[in-house]
Amino acid sequence: MKQAVRTVWECVRTVSGDNAYERYLTHHAQAHRGTVPLSRREFYAQMTDQKWSGVSRCC
């Protein structure tokens, strides 16, 4: 039960983008070992700009 709640919660966080920074850090630690990752603030700024530079909302 506890596990199920946690799974749903993680799913909500992923869909909403709430844990995007944590996921980025995980990816960074694997793929770019040794370099300094972006700060939470920089990462959010980059994500937002990227998301809204193309068609991401519809009629």
Binding site: R6, T7, V8, W9, E10, C11, V12, R13, T14, V15, S16, G17, D18, N19, A20, Y21, E22, R23, Y24, T26, H27, H28, Q30, A31, R40, R41, F43, Y44, A45, Q46, M47, T48, D49, Q50, K51, W52, S53, G54, V55, S56, R57, C58, C59
Partner: protein, 695 residues
């Protein structure tokens, strides 16, 4: 085996539900029949047709690495769990379109629109979305325009680019008109909608400065404030001094929306657009779920007849016969070309496995189509007389309430001034006559669904909550659309004059934003001053442009399928393409050549010009007549343009198909070569996917 049993059971239920609808033609029908039929039809389409297309037509390969895996950069290319991508994709495609279209099309009765929403989505819209998503995934997430250029040639590419820009302009104008008509003369609605702007900015500052990237916290704060803004709007409405500040006719409100759109385009995204979008997405998902639950609790009886006399083309909300205009009016909800832009944008970069496109592409569209069904139910559970009184412009039935009531009752849909006044008072508005655009009648429908299910004493709050919900939704599209339009203008002018292509250069931002806002602002303003409500002109134009975009997407898809070599398989996209080409061209021909001034753009312009010259118009109408005449000419030429673009792309595709069939050289396209996936799809063990998200 289990699959087959499920299919048979679903088919039997669907048959019963559809049979129930068909056999009860002369007595009122319960909305649950329609809900049941719809759900079963979607499940059948998903379980069998979509599965067959992914396996046989597209040959989706679970062992093939997707761009999300190959190009994983932790940002836009990220392998993501399919249910998460489904959520993202649904939030991206679902807009106000499926709410407005079915509401307007309800003038034909509930049956034509409902059938088109179901059939159109299952074999048209869902298929288009899924196949475009798949093709873009195979091509490293290329956009529709790029794919058109690669697969058909430069002509197709240019047509897709210009077509997209034009549809953006018409779309934003028509949505702006819907919001303006909902706010017109309503201090409660106007103040609530105005309050959503500072709320969005507050959330934007929170997410950027105070708690960067804590999206859930920011959204919860914002949604709470939005709900409070509905209550605050009520307080403002009850205060004699404050309500005067927010009580405006259409033109100043249109100007406000135009200034707002321009500001949103030049302000940084994090301040207004991004936070507004978080709020609108949360509201959207919440309201869709609430509406579905409430419809089941209330299980209303539909009061609208299955088919009204207006199928003959004399409809008061928009002119034209049921064929082809029901297929133009309901674009989103059945098939929407705009989705092809999203399906070839962000979503393909998140797909972990090729087989996920069935859930993400087909599934999301089926859900959006269901939203359209709910909008149809909300419109047709109203007394037809009330529905027509709300949705018909003063220019059609007369400005005086008594005239409107007499005309509408004369059509066989009895309604009284007292009934309309009582309803207006109940929802907290001064009047509900001639509130065209679809939003107010949908809000009345939603308020009665929510009111019956969750407490009728709050009708006025439910009504304004529904208006706020639609406005937040629409303004997000206005913001996002203006921004995309700005990038396109920068890209287009940048090809001739290099500095304009620098997207962050401020003069370039100002020039391009002003151009795009001026374009949609013009159509919005004309719509607002049109005594017939404007929506009857703009919405068909939007439908035609959206179906044109769908035709481009389906042409690209058909071209690729034909190049693959199995001509029979290409029918899955060619059949909806042929249908759209027939429907759109027929509608366009009628809009251009019809001698009926209500239907034909040029006939309408000539009729108005003749009345103006003979002095038959009252002074206030004569004052705006020259602008309306010019606009009808412009709309006529735009329709010509959309039709020509559609046929250019279609013929270009047929040319490629003919070359392929004769064994001649065709463009090779841009499909990425096969790479074996390192992610094991069997156990769902996907690197980079948050482990907890393996639902």
């Amino acid at each position: 085996m289990g699959n087959k049993i499920l299919g048979v059971v679903l088919a039997i239920i669907a048959a019963f539900a559809v049979g129930g609808i068909a056999l009860n033609r002369d007595e009122p029908i319960n909305a649950l029949w329609i809900v049941t039929a719809a759900v079963c039809i979607y499940l059948l389409g998903y379980r069998f047709y979509a599965a067959w297309i992914t396996a046989k037509v597209l040959s989706a390969d679970a062992t093939r690495a997707t761009p999300a895996e190959r190009l994983n950069n932790g940002r836009d290319f990220v392998p993501t769990h399919r249910w998460v991508v489904f959520g993202h994709h649904f939030a991206a495609i679902a807009g106000p379109g499926p709410l407005v279209g079915p509401t307007l099309a309800a003038q034909f009765g509930y049956l034509p629109g409902t059938l088109w929403i179901l059939v159109g989505s299952v074999i048209g819209g869902c298929v288009q979305d899924m196949i475009v998503l798949f093709l873009s995934t195979r091509r490293d997430g290329r956009s529709l325009g790029q794919m058109a250029r690669d697969e058909l040639g430069p002509l197709g590419g240019v047509a897709a680019l210009i077509g997209t820009l034009m549809i953006m302009v018409i779309l934003i104008a028509v949505l702006g008109l819907v919001v303006v008509n909902a706010m017109k003369g309503s201090p409660w609605a106007t103040s609530t909608v105005a309050l959503t702007i500072p709320i969005a900015i507050l959330v934007g500052l929170y997410l950027r400065r105070i708690r960067p990237g804590r999206v859930l916290e920011g959204s919860i704060i914002g949604v709470t404030l939005l709900v409070l803004s509905v209550w605050a709007g009520g307080l403002i409405d009850h205060s004699e001094t404050l309500r005067g500040w927010f009580n405006h006719p259409g033109p100043p409100l249109a100007l406000a929306v135009i200034v707002y759109g321009w500001s949103a385009a030049i302000l940084p995204v994090w301040l207004l657009l991004a936070p507004r979008d978080y709020l609108s997405t949360f509201l959207k998902l919440g309201v869709v779920a609430m509406l579905a639950i409430a419809i089941v609790i209330m299980h209303p009886v539909l009061k609208m007849p299955a088919i009204t006399q207006f199928v003959d083309g004399t409809g008061p909300i928009f002119s034209g016969k049921v064929f082809p205009f029901v297929f133009i009016t309901i674009a989103c909800g059945a098939i929407s070309g705009f989705h092809a832009l999203v399906s070839s944008g962000t979503t393909p970069k998140l797909i972990t496995n090729e087989t996920d496109v069935r859930l993400v592409g087909y599934g999301s569209m089926a859900l959006e189509s269901f939203v359209g069904i709910m909008a149809m139910i909300a419109a047709t559970l109203l007394d037809p007389g009330v529905y027509f009184a709300i949705n018909t412009g003063a220019g059609v039935v007369g400005a005086a309430a008594a005239d409107a009531v007499r005309t509408i009752s004369g059509w066989g849909f009895p309604v009284s001034v007292e009934q309309m006044q009582a309803l207006a008072t109940e929802v907290g508005e001064s009047t509900l006559f001639a509130r065209t655009g679809g939003a107010p009648s949908l809000a009345v429908g939603m308020a009665s669904i929510f009111g019956t299910s969750f407490g009728r004493g709050l009708m006025s709050v439910w009504y304004h909550f529904a208006i706020m919900f639609e406005a937040v939704f629409i303004l997000t599209t206005v913001d996002a659309g203006t921004r995309v339009g700005r990038f396109m203008v920068q890209d287009l002018i940048g090809q001739v004059w290099k500095p304009m292509a620098k997207t962050s250069w401020y003069p370039s931002i100002l020039i391009s934003s002003t151009l795009i806002v001026a374009a949609w602002g013009y159509f919005l303003y004309i719509g607002v001053i049109d005594p017939n409500g404007g929506i009857n002109i703009l919405w068909p134009l939007f439908g035609i442009s959206n179906q044109m975009l769908a035709s481009i997407a389906l042409s690209v898809a058909t071209g690729i399928l034909i190049k693959k070599g199995n001509f029979k398989h290409a029918l899955v996209t060619f059949v909806p393409l042929a249908w759209l080409a027939i429907v759109t061209t027929t509608a366009a021909i009628q809009k251009i050549f019809s001698a009926d001034p209500k239907l034909g753009f040029f006939a309408g312009a000539n009729d108005l010009a003749a009345k103006l010259a003979s002095g038959a118009l009252p002074p206030e109408r004569a004052a705006v007549a020259p602008q309306l005449i010019f606009n009808q000419h412009l709309d006529g030429w735009l329709t010509v343009f959309f039709t020509v673009v559609l046929w250019i792309v279609l013929v270009d595709m047929l040319r490629i198909a003919a070359r392929r069939m004769r064994g001649q050289h065709v463009p090779t396209g841009s499909e990425a070569p096969y790479t074996v996936s390192q992610l094991n799809p069997a156990n769902g063990d996907v690197n980079g996917v948050a482990s907890g998200a393996r639902a």
